[in-house]
C-alpha cells in the first residue's frame, strides 16, 4: 500500500495538468480522475432517474382513473418492475457512488481513489448493464414483469428479457463490488496524516460502512439470480417445486440481500445530512461518536431483519416474533440519529439556504417513513398492509424523501465546489418547496389506499379507490416536472458555469478539507498529503 501513498508525493503532476489531462471524449472514456468519474456517475444516475421517472409517470397515468386507458396489464407490470430496478440500481446507488468519488478523496485529503483504473472500469461497466435493462423493453415479450424483487417462480415464466435483466444485475453487482473495494481501500489507507478514523467526516464514515454492506450482500443477490437463471435454462430446480425446489427460499435469499440494500441506499444519505446540518446550524455535529455507532448498529441489525418482508408467506410463530422484534429494534439507532441532528440544530445559529432546506425536509419526511416502517414491522398489522399501497407509501417516504432528498441536499451543498458556480437560491427554493409539496401529494394518499386494502402492482382497482389515486397521479406529474425544472434551471446553468462564482468556502461554518481547496476543485488535489490541524478539518501547511 505504501506505493499508493507515495505516488502523489512525486512532483511530476504539480504544475502541468494540461499535459496530463486527456481532452475530448478520451477524458471521459479513459477517465481515471476521481472527480471526472464522480461527474460521470452523477450524470448517469440522473439520466436513469429520468428514465425511471418516466416509467413511474406511465404507471400513474394508467392509475389516474379506474379502467385501462393507456396500457395493458402486461405492460403495466413491465413498468412497475423496470421502474423499481432502474431507480434502485441505476439511479440511487450510482448517485451515491458519484458522491463518494467526488467527495471522499477531498474529505480525507487523498489525491485520488486508491484504484483509479478499476474506478474507470466500475463506471463503464454500468453502461452496457443500463442499455440491457432499458433495451429489454424492445425484446420479444417485452421487459421483465415479475416485480423488481424478481420472485420465483414468476421469473421462470418470463421471456428472454429476464435473462438480459439477470445479466445486467450481475454486471451492476460487479461494478458495485469494485466501487466498494475502492472506497474501503481509499478510506483505510489514504487518509491524510492526522485524520484518525474517529476524526473522519460523517459522509466518509457512512460510506465506509455502506461499502462493507455492499461487499457482503451483492454476491448474495448474484447467487439468487444465478439460481433463477439455471432454473430457467439448465434444468435445475432451486425454486421449482416440481423438482423439489422451494419458491420461498428465493425470497429468503433475495431479502438477505434486499434488506441491507435499503440501508445501502440510506446510510450515505445520513452521512450527507450529518455534514449539512452542522454547517448551517453553525455548530458542531452533536454526538459524533454515537452517530458512528448508530450507523454501525443499523448496518449490523440489517442482516437479521430480512424476513419482515415475508410475514405473509406463513412463517412459524417464533420466526414472526424474532423478525418483528429485531426490526423494531432498528428504530433505536435510527432515533439516535434523528435526535442527534435535532440537538445539533438546538441553540445553533441557523440559516436556511437550499441545502439546509433539503436536509430539514429530509429529517421531517424521512421520519414519517420511519414511523410507518415501525408500524409495518408489527407482524399482525403487517398482515393487513403487506403488499398494499401502504408499503408503497412507506418505502417511497424513505427512498425518495430519504435518499433522493439527501442527494439533492448534497448537490446544492457541494455543487459550488464541483462547478465553481453558485446555484440560484430562488430556483433552489422553488425546486425544494415544489418537490416537497408534490411528493406528499403523491405518496401521502397511498397510506389511505393501503389501509383500505388496495393491493400494490395493480393495473386497475375498485372504484372506491379512485379519488386518492387521482390525487397521487397529479402529485406524481408535479413531482416529475420539478425534477425537469431542477435539471434545466439549476444543473445546466451550473455545468455551463453560468452564475455567481463560488468562493472557496461558500458556507460560513462548513467544516472539512473539501473547503480547503479552491472552487471549482482543481483537477488534482492533495497531491502531497496535507498537514492537518488537530481537528483534522483544516490544512495548516
Amino acid at each position: 500500500m505504501s506505493a499508493v501513498l507515495d505516488h502523489p508525493t512525486g512532483h511530476v503532476h504539480d504544475h502541468h495538468d494540461d499535459h496530463h489531462a486527456p481532452t475530448g471524449w478520451r477524458r471521459w472514456v479513459f477517465a481515471t480522475n476521481h472527480k471526472d468519474i464522480g461527474t460521470l456517475y452523477l450524470l448517469f444516475s440522473f439520466t436513469m432517474l429520468i428514465i425511471g421517472g418516466i416509467l413511474a409517470l406511465c404507471i400513474r397515468a394508467e392509475l389516474f382513473q379506474p379502467g385501462l386507458q393507456f396500457f395493458n396489464p402486461e405492460q403495466f407490470n413491465q413498468f412497475t418492475t423496470m421502474h423499481g430496478l432502474i431507480m434502485v440500481f441505476g439511479a440511487i446507488m450510482p448517485a451515491f457512488v458519484g458522491f463518494a468519488n467526488w467527495m471522499i478523496p477531498l474529505q480525507i485529503g487523498a489525491s485520488d481513489m486508491a484504484f483509479a483504473r478499476m474506478n474507470n472500469f466500475s463506471f463503464w461497466l454500468m453502461i452496457p448493464a443500463a442499455l440491457m435493462l432499458v433495451g429489454s423493453f424492445f425484446m420479444p415479450g417485452g421487459a421483465p414483469a415479475a416485480g423488481w424483487t424478481l420472485y420465483a417462480p414468476l421469473t421462470l415464466q418470463m421471456g428472454p428479457s429476464m435473462d438480459a435483466g439477470i445479466f445486467a444485475m450481475h454486471i451492476l453487482g460487479a461494478s458495485s463490488i469494485m466501487g466498494s473495494i475502492n472506497i474501503i481501500v481509499t478510506i483505510l489507507n489514504m487518509r491524510a496524516p492526522g485524520m484518525t478514523l474517529m476524526k473522519m467526516p460523517m459522509f466518509a464514515w457512512t460510506w465506509l460502512i455502506t461499502a462493507y454492506l455492499l461487499i457482503a450482500v451483492m454476491p448474495v443477490l448474484a447467487g439468487a439470480i444465478t439460481m433463477t437463471l439455471t432454473d430457467r435454462h439448465f434444468g435445475t430446480s432451486f425454486f421449482t417445486p416440481a423438482g423439489g425446489g422451494d419458491p420461498v427460499m428465493y425470497q429468503h435469499i433475495f431479502w438477505f440481500f434486499g434488506h441491507p440494500e435499503v440501508y445501502i441506499m440510506i446510510l450515505p444519505a445520513f452521512g450527507i445530512i450529518s455534514q449539512i446540518v452542522p454547517a448551517f446550524a453553525r455548530k458542531r455535529l452533536f454526538g459524533y461518536a454515537s452517530m458512528v455507532y448508530a450507523t454501525a448498529s443499523i448496518a449490523i441489525l440489517s442482516f437479521i431483519v430480512w424476513a419482515h418482508h415475508m410475514f405473509a408467506t406463513g412463517m412459524p410463530v417464533t420466526g414472526q416474533l424474532f423478525f418483528m422484534y429485531a426490526t423494531m429494534l432498528i428504530a433505536v439507532p435510527t432515533g439516535v440519529k434523528i435526535f442527534n441532528w435535532l440537538a445539533t440544530m438546538w441553540r445553533g445559529s441557523m440559516t436556511f439556504e437550499t441545502p439546509m432546506l433539503w436536509a430539514i425536509g429530509f429529517i421531517f419526511v424521512f421520519t414519517m417513513g420511519g414511523f410507518t416502517g415501525l408500524i409495518c414491522a408489527v407482524a399482525p398489522i403487517d398482515i393487513q398492509i403487506q403488499d398494499t399501497y401502504y408499503v408503497v407509501a412507506h418505502f417511497h417516504y424513505v427512498l425518495v424523501a430519504g435518499s433522493l432528498y439527501a442527494l439533492f441536499a448534497g448537490v446544492y451543498y457541494w455543487g459550488p465546489k464541483w462547478t465553481g458556480v453558485m446555484y440560484s437560491e430562488t430556483r433552489g427554493k422553488i425546486h425544494f418547496w415544489g418537490s416537497l409539496i408534490f411528493f406528499n401529494l403523491t405518496f401521502f394518499p397511498m397510506h389511505f389506499l393501503g389501509l383500505a386494502g388496495m393491493p400494490r402492482r395493480y393495473a386497475d382497482y375498485p372504484m372506491q379507490f379512485a379519488d386518492f389515486n387521482m390525487v397521487a397521479s397529479l402529485g406524481a406529474f408535479g413531482f416529475g416536472l420539478m425534477q425537469v425544472y431542477f435539471f434545466v434551471f439549476v444543473v445546466i446553468p451550473m455545468m455551463r458555469g453560468k452564475g455567481a462564482p463560488a468562493p472557496q468556502k461558500p458556507w460560513e461554518a462548513a467544516e472539512g478539507l473539501e473547503w480547503e481547496v479552491p472552487s471549482p476543485a482543481p483537477f488534482h488535489t492533495f497531491e502531497n498529503p496535507p498537514k492537518l490541524d488537530v481537528t483534522a478539518t483544516r490544512v495548516i501547511g
Binding site: F64, Q65, P66, G67, L68, Q69, F70, N72, P73, E74, N77, P140, G142, A146, L154, Q157, P241, D246, P247, V248, K283, L285, G287, Y288, A312, T313, G314, V317, L321, Y325, M328, V332, G335, V336, L342, T344, M345, R347, G348, S349, T351, L374, I375, A379, I381, Q386, D387, F448, L451, A452, G453, R457, Y458, D460, P462, M463, Q464, F465, A466, D467
Partner: protein, 395 residues
C-alpha cells in the same frame, strides 16, 4: 422503423387522451357517484376496513395504538425541531452554543425508545400467537391459486367434498379493458362462485397454488396468506357477522394479477346447511358419463363458455393472441388432423400456458378444443369427444 413510428404516434395520441381526461376529470370532480361496498372498501376510506373477526379487531386496535404513539412522538420531536428552527436562527441574532456531546442525554434517548419499542411489541406478540393458531377448525377449505382464479375445495367439516373455481365476472374484466368502467360498486370484486362459509365457525384456509405465488387476502377478516406452489400454508378466521366480504390477490402473479378477486359469503348456520345440501345435489347431477357422445352444437356452445372464462384473457376472444401469447386462429397445432398435440398442450401446459388437467373436466377440455378447431377462420369440422381426453390423460 415503421413500427417505431406507429408506436410514437400511438404514444402521442395517448398523451393527448390523458390531457383530455385530466381536464374532464377536474371539471367534473364529483361526477363519480360510487357507493361504499359493505364488506369491501368504502369510498375514500382512511383506515382499515371494519373488522368482522377477533383478529381483525385486534389488528385495528394495534394499528390505532401505534398510530397514536407515533403521532405523539412525531409531534413532540418536531415541535422541538420547529421551535428551534424559529428561535435559533441567525436572522434573530441567535449565537451558536458550543455543546456537542452529553453522555447522559445520549443514553437516555437510546434507552427510552428501546423501552417504548418493547412496550409496543408486547401486545402484538399475543396477536401473532393467536393468528397462527389454526387448530380445532370447524371447517377446512383448501384455496388454490391459479393464474388467474381461485379454486376452493371443502376438505373437512360440513360441506366436505364440495369444490369449485371462482373467477372474476367476465363482464367486469371487459369493462376494465374498455377504459370506462362507469360506476360499479363491486367493480373488479364480483365473482361467479363466491366462497361460502357459516357465521361464528372457525374456518381454516389451507393455501397452495398451481403455478406461481398468489396471496389470499380478506381485509375484513384480517387474513392474508401467500399461496405457494408445491407447498401448503394455512390461516384461519371466524366471521362474527353475516354478509359479503371481499379481497383481492395480494402477490404479483403475472398479467391478470388485478383480476382474481376473493368474495366470501358468510351465511347463518341454517342457510349454510341448505347451501351445502343444494351443492351436493348439484354435484350428484353433474357427475357425467365420460363415454357419452356429444354433438357438435353441444360442444361448440359449451366450448365457447369455457373459452371465454379461461382462454380469452391470453389468446383473446378473437383467437388472434397477443404479444407472447400465440394465436389459435390459423394455428398449425389447432388445425392439425391429429388431436394429440393440442390435447397434450391443454392438459399439461407449455411455456406460460398453465396445465389445465387439474382445473377443467374432460368434457370441458373436449368442448373447448372442438371450439377452437371450428371458430374464427378455423373450419376443420373436427369433433373432439371427452373419451379422447380421457385417453390422452392416461398417456
Amino acid at each position: 422503423m415503421t413500427m417505431m413510428n406507429s408506436d410514437v404516434h400511438q404514444l402521442v395520441r395517448r398523451w393527448r387522451q390523458l390531457a383530455l381526461t385530466a381536464a374532464v376529470a377536474l371539471a367534473s370532480q364529483s361526477a363519480l357517484a360510487v357507493n361504499d361496498l359493505p364488506g369491501g372498501p368504502a369510498v375514500n376510506q382512511l383506515n382499515l376496513q371494519p373488522a368482522v373477526t377477533k383478529i381483525a379487531h385486534e389488528q385495528a386496535w394495534l394499528h390505532n395504538m401505534m398510530l397514536v404513539i407515533c403521532l405523539a412522538i412525531f409531534i413532540a420531536v418536531f415541535g422541538v425541531m420547529f421551535y428551534s428552527i424559529f428561535k435559533h436562527r441567525k436572522s434573530k441574532g441567535a449565537v451558536a452554543a458550543n455543546f456537542h456531546e452529553s453522555v447522559k442525554v445520549e443514553i437516555a434517548w437510546t434507552v427510552v425508545p428501546f423501552i417504548i419499542v418493547i412496550l409496543m411489541a408486547l401486545p402484538a406478540t399475543k396477536v401473532v400467537v393467536a393468528m397462527k393458531d389454526t387448530t380445532n377448525a370447524d371447517i377446512t377449505i383448501k384455496a388454490t391459486g391459479y393464474q388467474w382464479k381461485w379454486g376452493y375445495d371443502y376438505v373437512k367439516g360440513e360441506g366436505e367434498g364440495i369444490g369449485f373455481v371462482s373467477t372474476l365476472d367476465a363482464s367486469q374484466r371487459a369493462l376494465s379493458d374498455s377504459g370506462k368502467p362507469g360506476e360499479v360498486d363491486n367493480y373488479l370484486l364480483k365473482v361467479d362462485h363466491p366462497l361460502v362459509v357459516p357465521v361464528n365457525k372457525k374456518v381454516r384456509i389451507i393455501t397452495t397454488a398451481q403455478d406461481v405465488i398468489h396471496a389470499w387476502m380478506v381485509p375484513a377478516f384480517g387474513v392474508k396468506q401467500d399461496a405457494i406452489p408445491g407447498f401448503v400454508r394455512d390461516t384461519w378466521f371466524k366471521a362474527e357477522q353475516e354478509g359479503d366480504f371481499y379481497g383481492q390477490c395480494a402477490e404479483l402473479c403475472g398479467k391478470e394479477h388485478a383480476y382474481m378477486p376473493i368474495h366470501v359469503k358468510v351465511l347463518s348456520q341454517q342457510a349454510y346447511t341448505a347451501w351445502v345440501q343444494d351443492e351436493q345435489k348439484k354435484l350428484a347431477a353433474k357427475a357425467e358419463d365420460p363415454s357419452k357422445v356429444w354433438t357438435m352444437d353441444e360442444l361448440m356452445a359449451r366450448g365457447e363458455k369455457v373459452y371465454t372464462a379461461n382462454c380469452a384473457v391470453c389468446h383473446q376472444p378473437t383467437g388472434k393472441g397477443a404479444g407472447q401469447f400465440p394465436p389459435l386462429d390459423g394455428s398449425k397445432v389447432v388445425l392439425a388432423e391429429s388431436h394429440a398435440e393440442q390435447l397434450h398442450v391443454v392438459l399439461n401446459g407449455r411455456n406460460q400456458m398453465p396445465a389445465w388437467k387439474g382445473i377443467l373436466k374432460d368434457s370441458e377440455i373436449a368442448a373447448v378444443v372442438t371450439y377452437t378447431k371450428n371458430s374464427w377462420s378455423n373450419k376443420t369440422g373436427q369433433i373432439v369427444q371427452p373419451a379422447e381426453v380421457v385417453a390422452e390423460r392416461a398417456k
